[in-house]
């Protein structure tokens, strides 16, 4: 296990440099947009991670409600936190790209609106977690809320396909609307970011177990002092 982890970290460290190489030097400029095309790879990677992270949150919440095992709640919380961080990244890169491609920082396009709603929903989820006492109750409330908030994820994914949106559709049922070397760079960026997510998730889960352990220790200490 420990060996696997260090190999994974090494792969992440070297792989991300390779991804950066592909993004900056290995892929061509866009015919219309020029070098600003390169923002897109980061954007796409962040989007993939956000989608995966929220899916993990929803699945873990469902499993928690089914089994009432608190470790699922830890998974849900950690994944939601990291997913929200990546959604922030998604929005920031999207705003920068929008400025370069559309000439405006922000517009109330369906896709952009849906993403902001998703971001606010999971911020609310994290806020509720922060403000709720009692592990069981927090886990129950957060799980229901996560499942409700997860409704926004498929809607967000489908917005550019259902409504007229100015957001480009890259993945269609007929293949990719891109040059092949761009597709390679895109998938490399996605893989790199997912690896980063996995590493981050491990750290966050370990820290969460530490937090809970320290809480337990504190409560025990209080109990001992009373006796």
């Amino acid at each position: 296990m420990a060996r696997f982890r260090s190999w994974g970290l090494a792969l992440l460290g070297a792989g991300m440099v390779a991804v950066l190489y592909l993004i900056f030097l290995g892929s061509p400029d866009d015919a219309v947009l020029g070098p600003s095309q390169r923002i897109f790879y980061v954007h796409m990677g962040a989007a993939a991670v956000a989608g995966v992270a929220y899916t993990i949150t929803a699945a873990a919440s469902l499993l928690y409600l089914g089994t009432r095992r608190l470790s699922f709640d830890q998974w849900a919380a950690a994944s939601a936190e990291i997913g929200t961080a990546f959604t922030t990244m998604l929005l920031v890169s999207g705003v920068l790209w929008g400025r370069a491609a559309w000439g405006i920082w922000w517009t109330w396009d369906p896709r952009l609106t849906a993403t902001v709603i998703l971001w606010v929903l999971f911020m609310g989820y994290l806020m509720v977690r922060q403000w709720t006492d009692g592990r069981e109750r927090r886990a129950r409330v957060a799980s229901v809320l996560a499942l409700a908030a997860y409704v926004a994820v498929p809607i967000d994914y489908m917005t550019i396909r259902w409504w007229k949106s100015i957001h480009p559709v890259v993945m269609t049922s007929h293949g990719f609307n891109m040059a092949p070397s761009m597709v390679v760079a895109m998938f490399a960026a996605m893989a790199g970011m997912l690896l980063l997510f996995a590493a981050w998730m491990q750290i966050r889960l370990a820290l969460m177990r530490v937090e809970w352990g320290m809480e337990d220790a504190r409560n025990r200490m209080r109990g001992m002092g009373r006796r």
Partner: protein, 219 residues
């Protein structure tokens, strides 16, 4: 069914005696539209879309005011425990609450719409069957989202403050679809795509509490 009806009548009777939820919503919706009327004293120069936006904002804020009270009035004396323990389980409680919320939201929507049309005399704004349908669907969305979140956040510390903040993002899709559909109906455009979106969203949030009602509150 019997339990749903009993609880529904109970809430209506409470409302008739205390007037602390439905009447509050109606009064708030009316005041808000009037305040918008003073602030934007436009003399009929406003676009139908703008009027639709104002209408939905007033409706949403009034609705959220009521949603906080929806389960809030059951906190005293552990009423929730009693209602859940009574024969029939929790599902009827959730459904009755949803019905109550829908009735009050629909009443608020009708008041808000008529005051809105009267205050902003935009040529062409009229209350048609389609607008009534849109408002009823919007009220349904508000009621179902509100029932889920209100039941969930009950007993959380500071839920009066937490609930509106939490509800708002869930209601933004309802608001967008409702505004667009109302504006389109008044303009003579095509409201149906938005009405379908509204229906789909309502359906999702009506089914969700029915799936998760077991976990909404603990006894």
């Amino acid at each position: 069914m019997q339990k749903i009806w009993t609880l529904f009548v109970k809430d209506m009777r409470l409302e008739a005696r205390q007037k602390d939820m439905g009447f509050l919503m109606l009064a708030f919706a009316m005041m808000e539209t009037l305040v918008f009327g003073f602030a934007l004293d436009s003399g009929g120069r406003m676009q139908t879309d703008e009027v639709a936006g104002i209408l939905w904002m007033g409706f949403l804020f009034a609705g959220m005011l009521g949603i906080v009270r929806l389960f809030g009035r059951e906190t005293a004396e552990d009423v929730m425990v009693g209602m859940a323990m009574a024969p029939g389980g929790r599902l009827p409680v959730v459904m009755a609450k949803m019905a109550v919320a829908w009735v009050f939201c629909a009443a608020t929507a009708s008041i808000a719409t008529s005051v809105d049309v009267a205050v902003f005399q935009v040529p062409g704004t009229r209350v048609s069957v389609i607008v009534v349908l849109v408002m009823l669907l919007g009220a349904l969305g508000l009621a179902s989202v509100g029932t889920l979140l209100s039941g969930l956040s009950l007993n959380l510390s500071g839920h009066e403050v937490l609930l509106p903040v939490l509800t708002m993002p869930f209601l933004v899709p309802v608001a967008i679809a409702g505004m667009e559909a109302t504006g389109a109906a008044w303009r003579g455009g095509r409201p149906w795509p938005w009405i379908h979106a509204l229906m789909a969203y309502d359906l999702i949030f009506m089914v969700l509490p029915l799936l998760l009602y077991e976990f909404l509150w603990e006894v």
